[in-house]
Symmetry: none
Subunit: 208 residues, 2 copies
DNA sequence: GCGCGCCTCCTCCCCGGGGAGGAGGCGCGC
DNA sequence: GCGCGCCTCCTCCCCGGGGAGGAGGCGCGC
C-alpha cells in the first residue's frame, strides 16, 4: 500500500486526485495540504511514501517544501505535478530533490502510473519534460572538452570526469571500474601532464 | 499489436527476448537480426513499430544501425538494450535518435514495460541511466552560476589561489598566514559556494 | 609463439585535505 | 562600552588522494 500525501492549493484538483487514488487498491491518500507550510508539517507527521507536490502555491511554495521535506526524510519520494513545465520550474524542482515531474494535462492513467513508479524508486517524467532533459544532457555532453594527446582512451575518460570535479569514487561508479583503477589512471595522468595535484590536472583538462 | 524487431548478436539473448515477448498478447516479434547491417535491411523490409537494439555488435554497430534506420523511417521507435550503460554508449545512442535506453540487467517486466512505453511514444530509461541524465541536465542548467556573493576579502584571496591550483601550504606561504588559517577559509568557501570538493571550488572560482 | 601496450586491480603506506568545534585579537559602528 | 564580523590560529580526527611497486588478462602486430 502506497501512502500518499497530496499537496495543491486548488481544492478541485485535490478532490479529483483523491477520488482517482481512492479507487486504487494499492494507494491510500493519508493527507492533503493546500500550501507548502502545511505540507512540511503533514509530511513530518504522516510520513508518506510519496508526496504529489504542486509548485505554485501561496506562502511557502512547492520547491521550498520539497527541499524541507527531503532534508527531514530523504527517502520520501516527491513527485511534482504542475501546470508549468518550463525550465524555471523544472530545474529548481530537480535541484530540490524531486524524483519526478508530471504535467497536469497528463491522462489520469499516467498520473497513477507515475505515483506507482515513484514509489518503486523510479523517476517518472512527462514525455515533453523528459525530451527536454535528454536534449539538454546530450547538448551538455557535446560541450565536453577537447582531447589531449598521448593519453589512452581510458585516461581521457577519467580526465574528463576529474575536470568536472568528480571524486575518485564517483568516477569509478560512472565508468563501472574500481577505485584503485581510477587511482592508477590518475597517477598516470598526473605524471603525463606534469600536474602536481588534482586541481592542476583539472585545469589542464580544461586547457587552462 | 506492437510489431517488434530484435537486434542482438547473442543468440541466447534473442531467444530469451523472443520467448518473453511471444508470451505477450500485444507484442509480436516480426524479426531478428544479429548485427547492424542485417538490422537495417530487416527494418526497411518489415517496418517494425519498435526495434530493440543492442549496441556492441560485430560489423555495423547499434549506433550506426539506429541512425540509418531512423534516417529511413523517423517514426520507428528504437529502444537500446545493452550491458553497458556508461556515457560513451548512452550519448551516442541518444544522438543517433534512440528513444530509450535500458540495461540488460533489468527485470523482464521492465523490459516489456519499456517496449510498450516506447511504442506509446514514451521514453523508457533504466533508473540508473535516467538519474545520470537528469544530473547532467541539472548540472548543465547550473552553468548559469549562482552569484558568488558573501565572500570576505581574505576568502577571495584564498579562492583565487585555489583556482590556480596551489596547495594549502603554497597558499599559506603566498599569503604569509598559517596553513590552519588557509584551511579555515577553505572550509568556509566550500560551504558558501556549495562545493563538495576542492576541484569544484576551483571551477566555481573560474566561473565554470 | 612472443613482446608490447592497455586496462584492470592489488597491497602497503602516508600525507594533505577537510569536518567539528573551538579561541583570541582587531577594528568597526552604535 | 558593547556587539559584531573578520582574521588569525588551535586541537582532534578521519578519510580520500596519491606514491611505490607490483600482477594478470587481453588484443594487437610481428
Amino acid at each position: 500500500m502506497i501512502r500518499l500525501l497530496l499537496v495543491d492549493d486548488q481544492h478541485l484538483i485535490r478532490a479529483g486526485l483523491r477520488m482517482l487514488c481512492d479507487a486504487q487498491p494499492d494507494i491510500e491518500v493519508v493527507g492533503e495540504a493546500d500550501n507548502g507550510r502545511e505540507a512540511i508539517a503533514l509530511a513530518a507527521r504522516l510520513i508518506p511514501d510519496v508526496v504529489v507536490m504542486d509548485l505554485r502555491m501561496p506562502g511557502v511554495d512547492g520547491i521550498t517544501a520539497t527541499s524541507r521535506i527531503l532534508a527531514d526524510r530523504p527517502a520520501t519520494r516527491v513527485l511534482v505535478l504542475t501546470t508549468f513545465g518550463d525550465d524555471d520550474h523544472l530545474y529548481p524542482a530537480l535541484t530540490a530533490g524531486a524524483c519526478g515531474f508530471l504535467l497536469k494535462d497528463a491522462p489520469p492513467a499516467d498520473l497513477l502510473d507515475g505515483i506507482r513508479r515513484a514509489a518503486a524508486g523510479d523517476s517518472p517524467f512527462s514525455q515533453e519534460v523528459l525530451r527536454r532533459l535528454v536534449q539538454r544532457a546530450v547538448h551538455a555532453r557535446a560541450e565536453t572538452p577537447p582531447p589531449a594527446q598521448g593519453l589512452t582512451a581510458r585516461e581521457q575518460d577519467v580526465l574528463n570526469l576529474v575536470a568536472e570535479g568528480l571524486s575518485n569514487t564517483e568516477i569509478a561508479d560512472r565508468l563501472h571500474i574500481g577505485v584503485t583503477t581510477v587511482k592508477t589512471h590518475i597517477t598516470s595522468l598526473m605524471t603525463k601532464t606534469n600536474s602536481p595535484n588534482r586541481v592542476r590536472l583539472a585545469l589542464f583538462a580544461r586547457g587552462a
